[in-house]
């Protein structure tokens, strides 16, 4: 019986590994999403001199769990006169497409140090040699608008309809700038493959941070980031759900878990955009330091160890008994992980790529929240003018300038 299963596994090892990876990534992404809401509420609260969630669990750490339970157990009414099929399809579409986007992101350069049934296990679901990585991601982003637009249309209500209309108009306008702004990066890398785009930024290993695409493509990055924020419907481009004008925009008529699906989709696309920004402009999994500075390999430990110790110290003084148990536990885990990384150089070396990519993603997520905490919303005509009259011309200028410089390098540059 057992041998039958091992035979089946080794025959379909690639399929089995992919399924396990999908399950794992789904779990990780959904957990990160949940804690992203906590992070966002906490950061915005502190920017506004509030405490944010702090009652449910130590520092409000159990708030996402409480929210999740609430989403599951709330009454889920279907409004009268909705187009049932499309009404149920829309949140499904939004969530499925957002999660598919993450599947294309490579999270690390090397496969795991050990193989399963002779199959190398890479970090990330799609194999690292997807030739059209970035194009496939844009294809998924392009489809993402349907979730919002159809939700607005099918709800049979005026505010969602307006939200859906705004969303599709906004997507059409910013899609162009989004695609044009990465052409510069593609020209420099000469490939659509995300892995090759990162490797092209490491041609001078000693340059470190200076070799990244952000320096020659500063204009492209600006256009890309602004257009990407507009595509993810976040502040200051969250007109489709502008609560001061449209109640809650396209998801006004959605309650309970169908609303949660839109919510998760939005946060997932935030993560995808952060991944894309760090991969295309900030070197992906490359370290910002020159390759010869090997002492920087201890940076993950140097962050985890003191932070873990601080969490222990903070935890034993916490006011609730629950916090006095949980927080030191988390702190011990962090400090232990930091210590283990020092003691296991092989693991430490492997963790470098994912560590840098995840730190960059975290920075971009913080920028997202930061902007939500500081910037006011655009007016609708400003939004359109900004997209068509500023972003699109700028990104076209960027493409032309980049191609001229590459041409000049090819003609007169160093042989």
């Amino acid at each position: 019986m057992i041998s039958f299963f091992t035979n089946l596994l080794s025959a379909n090892a690639e399929l089995a590994i992919t399924l396990v990876k999908i399950g794992l990534l789904l779990f990780i992404v959904l957990t990160v999403n949940a804690y992203l809401t906590w992070f966002e509420r906490k950061v915005v609260a502190h920017m506004q001199s509030r405490w944010g969630p702090h009652r449910t669990g130590p520092h409000g750490l159990l708030q996402p769990l409480a929210d999740g339970v609430k989403f599951l157990f709330k009454e889920d009414p279907t409004p009268a006169g909705v187009d049932k099929f499309v009404y149920y399809l829309a949140p499904l579409l939004a969530l499925a497409l957002a999660l598919t986007g993450i599947a294309l992101i490579p999270f690390g350069p090397d496969p795991l140090p050990w193989k399963f049934f002779g199959v190398p296990v890479y970090l990330g679901i799609a194999p690292p040699d997807v030739n059209i990585g970035i194009l496939a991601l844009f294809a998924i982003t392009a489809m993402g608008v349907y979730g919002v637009a159809l939700a607005g249309w099918s709800s049979n209500s005026k505010y969602p309809l307006l939200g859906g209309l705004r969303s599709s108009a906004q997507m059409i306008s910013y899609e162009l700038a989004l695609t044009m702004s990465v052409v510069g990066v593609l020209l420099m890398a000469g490939s659509f493959n995300l892995k090759k785009i990162i490797e092209a930024q490491a041609t001078h290993p000693e340059w470190g941070i200076l070799g990244w695409n952000i320096w020659p493509q500063l204009l492209g990055f600006f256009c890309f980031f602004v257009a990407a924020i507009a595509e993810t419907n976040r502040v200051p481009f969250d007109l489709p759900e502008a609560e001061s004008e449209l109640v809650a925009g396209f998801h006004t008529e959605y309650a309970s878990f169908k609303f949660a699906m839109f919510f998760i989709a939005e946060y997932t696309s935030m993560i995808t955009v952060s991944c894309l920004c760090s991969i295309m402009f900030f070197g992906g999994w490359l370290s910002p330091f020159p390759a010869s500075w090997t002492f920087t390999h201890y940076l993950p430990s140097a962050i985890l160890l003191p932070f873990g110790l601080w969490v222990i110290w903070d935890g034993i003084r916490y006011e609730t008994i629950f916090g006095r148990i949980i927080l030191p536990g988390i702190g011990t885990a962090m400090a232990g992980a930091g210590l283990a990384l020092i003691l296991l150089p092989g693991v430490n070396l492997f963790i470098q790529g994912p560590f840098w990519l995840l730190s960059k993603i975290l920075v971009f997520l913080f920028v997202y929240v930061w902007m939500r905490g500081t910037l006011p919303r655009f007016r609708y005509d400003q939004l359109m003018a900004f997209g068509w009259k500023l972003l699109l011309p700028l990104s076209i200028v960027n493409v032309i300038a980049t191609s001229f410089i590459i041409l000049a390098k090819m003609t007169w540059g160093a042989k």
Partner: protein, 173 residues
């Protein structure tokens, strides 16, 4: 049956069902959704043929941009369920005849072109064995071999855009 063959039949069935549903649906939005299904199924078929670039562009341009515009317009006009008027009885027999003629034409073309398809498949394998990626091959074709027809086409599109703008402006004044 091999896995690619199964995928092919699933996608082909999806495309045909989507196309039929596009015609049979009463509501414009449902028809538009069916058309999107057709586009995506076609993209899957391109992917199965190894044309990754064409597949991605099919979804970005047709599935994304153009169909979003369709849906946008339908939503903006708030188009309702279509009303069926009495269909002309004359339309039946000639339509059937045309369907048969078109199907025959396509079938004949496929039968006749089997040799050339096989030869292009062989050359495609050759180019991939030379280490030339398919996207590179397409761009070489567009921007080197057929650059003048390509530029002429874009000029044509520009004229169409200008024409549409002029017409819209005239209506306003």
């Amino acid at each position: 049956m091999t896995a690619p063959l199964i995928v092919f039949f699933v996608l082909a069935a999806l495309a045909v069902i989507g196309a039929v549903s596009l015609i049979l649906q009463k509501h414009p939005i449902h028809s538009a959704l069916s058309l999107i299904v057709v586009m995506i199924a076609l993209a899957g078929l391109y992917l199965l043929l190894g044309a990754e670039f064409v597949a991605a562009v099919q979804i970005i341009v047709y599935g994304g941009a153009i169909m979003v515009l369709f849906v946008f317009v339908i939503m903006l006009l708030n188009a309702g369920v279509e009303e069926h008027t009495s269909v002309s009885k004359m339309a039946g027999p000639p339509g059937l005849l045309l369907v048969v003629a078109l199907a025959g034409l396509i079938a004949a073309t496929i039968v006749r072109s089997t040799d050339s398809i096989q030869s292009t498949m062989q050359t495609g394998e050759m180019s991939s064995s030379l280490g030339v990626s398919k996207t590179l091959g397409i761009s070489n074709m567009i921007f080197k071999d057929f650059v003048y027809p390509f530029e002429l086409t874009s000029f044509l599109i520009l004229i169409a855009v200008l024409g549409a703008t002029v017409l819209a402006q005239r209506e306003k004044s």
